[in-house]
């Protein structure tokens, strides 16, 4: 019984981290139709930015995280403008372009920081304990940030005219332009928001986990799974799916072990998709 509850707590923790990384990924996909293979790279980069700022330059952790978030956002903006913007309509070409960018990023990070994990610590340690359960304070903080970030993104994308314009641009570029929407700023901005989210996740989560050049790969894999399960491009779907995946992963790993647990998770996701091919909160388009 005790282990059922504490496993649930772990599942929620996982879900929070997954949600944070996945909404950025689904945002880029939902708005631009681009599968951003470099998303994991921005996560890692956010971690290294925060690490450099706080450990090498001695900045306090909170401003370091904020600056790292900003920096990954700016970098995302620049990368979008330089490499992605022109090819945005070609979903397949952008896949390869972002894959190339990811490999360049990883190589750059390895050259700058080495292949070994760096010594990056979360400033607050300890756990909230009681009745046999525990939640590390760090997780509570991540949870709060996650909730705030998700709300902010949701508000921006679905409740503001800016978000409407973004999505309109994605739907039908020329007509959107004819409505007075300026494309040159829209997509880079969307990309920047998403990469900033990845950077924020990295800056927050890597000190709790581990920070090395390839940390982003597993994260990207999880984002894949979550985003399909939730319904491509659906922010609320991604959040829902993140918690489902987190919980399923927690329970299966605890009861079957990591390897079989992963298998169980994947099979479950496949099964859900067979029943709901459009994902949990995805919509189907009308054919005629």
């Amino acid at each position: 019984m005790e282990s059922i509850v504490s496993t649930g707590v772990i599942g929620v923790t996982l879900g929070t981290q997954y949600a944070l990384i996945s909404i950025g990924f689904t945002l880029i996909f939902g708005i631009m139709g681009v599968v951003n293979f470099a998303h994991g790279g921005f996560y890692v980069l956010g971690g290294y930015f925060a690490f450099s700022l706080s450990h090498s330059l001695g900045m306090p952790y909170v401003p370091a995280v904020l600056l790292a978030t900003l920096a990954t956002g700016v970098l995302g903006y620049v990368i979008e403008t330089l490499f992605v913007e022109k090819y945005v309509v070609d979903h397949l070409a952008t896949m390869l372009i972002t894959l190339g960018i990811y490999q360049i990023m990883t190589t750059g990070i390895t050259m700058a920081y080495g292949a070994e994990p760096v010594d990056f610590k979360f400033p607050i340690s300890g756990s909230l304990r009681g009745g046999g359960y525990y939640v590390p304070y760090a997780n509570l903080i991540v949870f709060a940030v996650c909730a705030a970030a998700i709300s902010a993104v949701y508000y921006l994308v679905f409740k503001t005219r800016y978000g409407i314009a973004l999505r309109a641009m994605a739907d039908d570029g020329p007509v959107a332009k004819a409505q007075g929407i300026t494309p040159a700023r829209m997509f880079p901005m969307a990309f920047a928001i998403a990469t900033a989210l990845a950077g924020l996740t990295g800056a927050l989560v890597t000190p709790m986990l581990s920070l090395e050049p390839t940390s982003g790969e597993g994260v990207l894999g999880k984002a894949f799974v979550i985003v399909i399960l939730g319904g491509l491009g659906s922010v609320s779907g991604a959040v829902l799916a993140a918690f489902i995946v987190g919980l399923v992963e927690a329970y299966t790993s605890v009861y079957f072990g990591g390897s079989l647990g992963a298998l169980a998770l994947f099979i479950l996701v496949m099964l859900i998709l067979l029943v709901r091919p459009q994902g949990l909160l995805g919509t189907v388009a009308r054919k005629a």
């Binding site: 999505r167 309109a168 332009k177 409505q179």
Partner: protein, 230 residues
């Protein structure tokens, strides 16, 4: 309000418009008639800037539009309802209507939305449905509503009656009249010349990329009839 001088539009080797000159005065409504492929849509698209002009001048509100991009033209006060609806499929009905209002103050956008929803109650009923799920005719209303959401000075309507039931043609005509009363200048094309001619002051007949005739509605009606556009 809108002066087009010697406008030519080319697609690769195909000449869609050849030295067309058209004048639309402040507060006036003008119809372009002509058979399929005559170049009507090309003209409308050249005005909003979706296709480049090969040569010629487009002057809107005293400003030469050469070199201005499509969004800039829209923000100068040109509203556009494209041929074939082209609503934003994944956006809801209301979002479609609001999509072009980024440059308008929120209060004004809200007021316009109110007016639009009063005019087309359907838009209120279906406010939160994805536009993609609407029927063809319903989508046409959304497209027109989207074009007028900023209360543009000049409204470009490319075949607004396409696929509409007679009763809806009536509704849209009423709405256009209301816009005219509010001082909106209108340039439209329509295959169904009969209801369209009721709305406009003047018309141009376009054929093979050239203006063949122009004049008041009464002058054109006979020509159009003779040439079987009605």
């Amino acid at each position: 309000m809108l002066t087009i001088e010697n406008l030519s539009v080319r697609y690769g080797g195909i000449e869609a418009l050849n030295k067309v000159s058209i004048e639309v005065r402040q507060g006036e409504s003008v119809l372009l008639v002509g058979s399929n492929g005559a170049g009507k849509s090309s003209l409308i698209n050249a005005v909003i800037g979706l296709v480049p002009a090969a040569s010629g001048r487009i002057v809107f509100d005293g400003k030469d539009l050469a070199g201005t991009s499509c969004p800039v033209r829209a923000r100068l006060g040109i509203g556009y309802s494209p041929e074939g609806r082209r609503v934003f499929r994944s956006l809801t009905v209301t979002e479609n209507v609001l999509s072009g209002t980024l440059g308008t103050p929120m209060a004004e956008a809200k007021a316009n939305l109110e007016w639009i929803q009063d005019t087309f109650p359907l838009l209120r009923e279906r406010a939160n449905q994805p536009a993609n799920q609407l029927s063809g005719g319903q989508q046409q209303i959304v497209a027109i509503a989207r074009a007028v959401s900023t209360m543009p000075k000049l409204l470009l309507l490319d075949e607004p009656f396409l696929g509409l039931a007679p009763v809806w043609i009536g509704h849209i005509s009423d709405a256009i009249r209301e816009l005219q009363r509010r001082g909106t200048t209108i340039l439209m094309t329509e295959q169904m010349a009969r209801p369209a001619l009721k709305l406009v002051d003047r018309a141009y007949v376009i054929r093979g990329g050239e203006v063949r005739r122009s004049g008041t509605v009464d002058e054109i009606r006979d020509v159009a009839l003779a040439e079987e556009y009605l």
